[in-house]
């Protein structure tokens, strides 16, 4: 298996002395979906920013050997661009051949089911649709590694579950890896091969839980006893941290 990203004993200390991340290591391999869960403020998003290269660790190393796309918590669409032009943005910034942009943009819009809205402006879309556009923008780049920063946190439960399923289906056909930050345990368990539990102050990975389900998952899985058991196990780990 090809390793896409490897973080070795990374620590991050802010200028004011706060240690945000302490001695943290993780890796994501090709085809692997890894979720990071943890209480708010534990440094999940900071860890993801380290992984993306937006910030550098004060000690330790981050080795990326893959093309990366970052999916933000908010849809970060440009309001003056249509859905199609937004999806094309990253490719355009990478100065890719226009015909190729056209092809990849159309197929990404198809994939997230927004063909009918390709010429709409962001203000005409619902929250779920905006997130789909943001997803399509990353998908169009066909990266080897996706970094997701709580992309569905602002959506209602129903939309969120549907997008979880769609994301799984889409990523199955890609052979890319994903690092997915969330504070929803169910979302993490449903999507991942492996869930990393982060503990706060200073942020570090406390535990890694392998998820035993097959890659082919349906909505019914959420209501199985085994699913509930794994979620319960992760929840009790997190509760333990809160009481510390």
């Amino acid at each position: 298996m090809t390793q896409l990203i490897k973080i070795n004993n990374a620590s991050l200390q802010f200028a004011d002395g706060t240690v945000a991340i302490s001695d943290t290591s993780l890796q994501v391999e090709q085809g692997e979906f890894v979720a990071i869960v943890g209480p708010s403020g534990c440094g999940k998003s900071t860890l993801l920013r380290l992984a993306s290269g937006l910030i550098s660790p004060t000690s330790g190393t981050v080795e990326r050997s893959a093309s990366v796309q970052y999916v933000f918590q908010d849809s970060t669409l440009l309001p003056w661009r249509t859905v199609k032009k937004n999806v094309a943005l990253n490719l355009e910034l990478q100065k890719i051949d226009p015909a190729e942009i056209e092809r990849r943009t159309n197929s990404a819009i198809d994939l997230v089911g927004l063909s009918d809205s390709a010429n709409k402006l962001p203000r005409q879309l619902s929250g779920g649709m905006k997130m789909r556009v943001s997803l399509a923008r990353s998908l169009a780049c066909e990266p080897q590694l996706f970094l997701f920063d709580e992309p569905f946190a602002a959506l209602d439960e129903f939309t969120r579950e549907r997008l979880n399923l769609e994301l799984r289906t889409i990523l199955q056909t890609h052979n890319s890896g994903s690092l997915f930050v969330t504070h929803s345990i169910a979302e993490a368990v449903f999507l991942s091969h492996r869930v990393l539990i982060m503990s706060p102050r200073p942020g570090t990975i406390a535990r890694s839980v392998d998820i035993p389900f097959s890659t082919d998952r349906s909505q019914e899985l959420r209501y199985s006893a085994e699913f509930a058991e794994i979620c319960g196990d992760i929840a009790s780990s997190l509760r333990g941290m809160a009481h510390r």
Binding site: D74, P79, L93
Partner: protein, 264 residues
């Protein structure tokens, strides 16, 4: 249609009250000579305003209007160009912003009349000086709105561009300028009004060269021509209004499709 009518009702009533007050002042102020005496009134009633608006007077007003418009638009164009560039430069680094900001504030609060003698000595009392006054009066809102517009861009949008390894130039062209354009237009609209004030105020200070509306007002005042003086003032107001509305329309054309401030 009905809603439009009810929305227009307020301004119409206020305008009616204003005209009423005007008549009341024109006819009841005891040092405002009555029409019966045949002497000119300091404040002519609205219906007699345009009595002298013909022949040489009309020609002078139109010429002055053209000259003031030229001064205002030249000044505004320079303000827009320099102001937007300054705003962009200041947004690129905190230290540049900190270095320039106090001086901009100083320029903004300096009473223009205090530097007029200096300008007369340096560049003379001509068109250039008038344009310079216009620029000094109108540049600040453009700089501050450009800067504010760029600084208000959501940090994750900047991250998005950084992650694609975009140059400053690409980020400016594809993110910062379009995102700041609603704010820049707000600045331009405020500055358009200020530019007209600048052009007319400059006229009062610098008496050489072609007379604009400001000089004409002084001329009519000295010759006891209240009616033409009022008309000149009205045209000055009209000029400011035209520029204000012009930028409003431009704003609608450029960003109306996507920005909430316009569509709402």
């Amino acid at each position: 249609m009905k809603r439009r009518l009810s929305r227009a009702l307020g301004p119409i009533i206020v305008f009616g009250l204003f005209i009423g007050c005007w008549y009341w002042v024109a006819y009841s102020l005891h040092n405002n000579f009555s029409p019966a005496s045949g002497k000119p009134m300091i404040i002519p009633p609205p219906h007699r305003l345009f009595e002298d608006f013909h022949g040489a007077v009309r020609e002078r007003i139109f010429t002055a209007l053209l000259i003031s418009t030229r001064t205002a638009i030249t000044g505004l164009a320079i303000s827009a160009l320099v102001g937007v560039i300054l705003g962009i430069v200041m947004s690129q680094a905190k230290w540049i912003e900190r270095s320039l900001w106090p001086h901009l504030i100083a320029l903004q609060v300096t009473p223009i009349i205090a530097i007029v003698p200096l300008m007369v000595r340096l560049i003379g009392a001509n068109f250039t000086a008038r344009v310079l006054v216009t620029v000094i009066i109108s540049i600040f809102p453009i700089v501050s709105n450009t800067l504010f517009g760029i600084q208000s861009i959501h940090p994750s949008l900047h991250d998005l561009f950084r992650l694609q390894n975009c140059s400053r130039w690409v980020t400016l062209r594809k993110l910062q300028l379009p995102a700041a354009s609603p704010s820049i237009f707000t600045g331009l609209r405020v500055s358009a009004g200020l530019a007209v004030i600048g052009a007319i105020v400059g006229d009062f200070f610098f008496t050489k060269g072609d007379p604009g509306l400001g000089q004409l007002i002084t001329f009519f005042f000295l010759n006891n021509l209240s009616g033409p003086m009022f008309i000149t003032a009205l045209f000055a107001t009209g000029l400011g209004l035209m520029l204000f509305l012009g930028f409003g329309a431009l704003n609608r054309i450029v960003i109306g499709r996507w920005h909430e401030s316009v569509t709402r």
